[in-house]
Amino acid sequence: MTYPNPSTENTPANPHDAGPPLWLLAELTYRCPLQCPYCSNPLDFAQTERELTTEEWVSVLRQGRKMGAAQLGFSGGEPLVRQDLPELIAEARNLGYYTNLITSGLGLTETKVDAFAEAGLDHIQVSFQASDPELNNAVAGSRKAFDQKLAMARAVKEAGYPMVLNFVIHRHNIHQMNDIMTLCERLEADYVELATCQYYGWAFENREGLMPSKAQLVQAEHEVNEYRKRLQDSGSAMKLIFVTPDYYEERPKACMNGWGNLFLTVAPDGTALPCHSARLLPIDFPNVRDMELQRIWYDSPGFNHYRGDSWMPEPCRSCDEKEKDFGGCRCQAYLLTGNADNADPVCSKSEYHDRILAARRAADHATAGLTGLVYRNADNSRLFFRS
């Protein structure tokens, strides 16, 4: 047993000999000024009531750090909506976390950028929706978004932070790869995440309208590789990270590096989750208001549910790759087969793999524009929990 903090009283059981949660994602709020139709927040986010208070978040941060968490993401929704963000940053930095702010840039000002640096914020990630204002604002559902993002990306660099620019890639912006990378170079990004859409939350609802075709994807990957070569030749330190969509793979991703293995998400209402999508699963997850984080992570039925491999049915159970990918993503298995225990249907060994093939065929023939997408906002969210 390599169990941390053996001195803790009432040490909970750790049946799977789990390691510590090295990454803590603090989803401070579901409130957001943007309406991106691929948002990973739950469809019924508008139903979420009481957000954790400042004191409750401070307690979560302290408990997480004591357990060994080193990377901390402030995310949402839009975390800037929380007025106590500077206080939380200062507390986190003081505890020794590497603090990442994951923001749309809306609500950010140069004054805040400087104040956060003073509080000890290590890094800012700004998301963009496209390389030009028209498409960016249409996807974000906000007329002023693009100009604000540009101004804030410049302010972030001006203040000396390392900067990650994040673009979610889908069929409506995948033709812009070169323009996107050129924009990032001009803004002096240190890292560029070109993350093809993953189909959870609002993105699953909008999958047909978002998923690129195989041909689009091959072209995009080629452009990224060519650009990367150019960057290397010129000695640029800008790093391109292209996240390929698992819908075009024959084996599933090792989702979250394993269930309850490294990542711990705390949702705005205090629900603790093994990933930011897991809320959609029919599993009871504990709340930090009711239980200590240590007990939640090591001992709760929710976090132990898919640890190890004794839960696996066939074809995973006898598969020689099960230790490599853990059967893929539980949320994807649930969304596509109705049973979260099943193999992720991305796997060609899954009896449900035809559902992935059908989605690929649909992407080859899709013609719908942006207007057919369901935008992520409180009105649309209420439709999901009323129905």
Binding site: P4, P20, L22, M67, G68, A70, Q71, G73, G96, Y98, N100, D122, H123, Q125, G160, Y161, P162, V164, D190, Y191, A237
Partner: protein, 87 residues
Amino acid sequence: MHQVPRFRRGFRFQWEPAQESYVLLYPEGMVKLNGSAGAILNEVDGQRSVGDIIASLEQQFPEAGSLGKDVGDFLQDAQHHHWIELS
């Protein structure tokens, strides 16, 4: 030998008790360092030169003999990964 290594802005080096090792933290990432990498980077303070660092490590680990090549190679590697800058 006279160059002074320093961590790039955004890179933080610290001891993590839960992992019982030194780590290097950067935007959304973490490298767990092995013993010798940790010992070398622990000497990087933005003041002392590569030569100073080698001398200090040779004093700490007299049984290891001459460390100049290993330390120099590692620091070049670290520069190549854009973890540190040499100036």
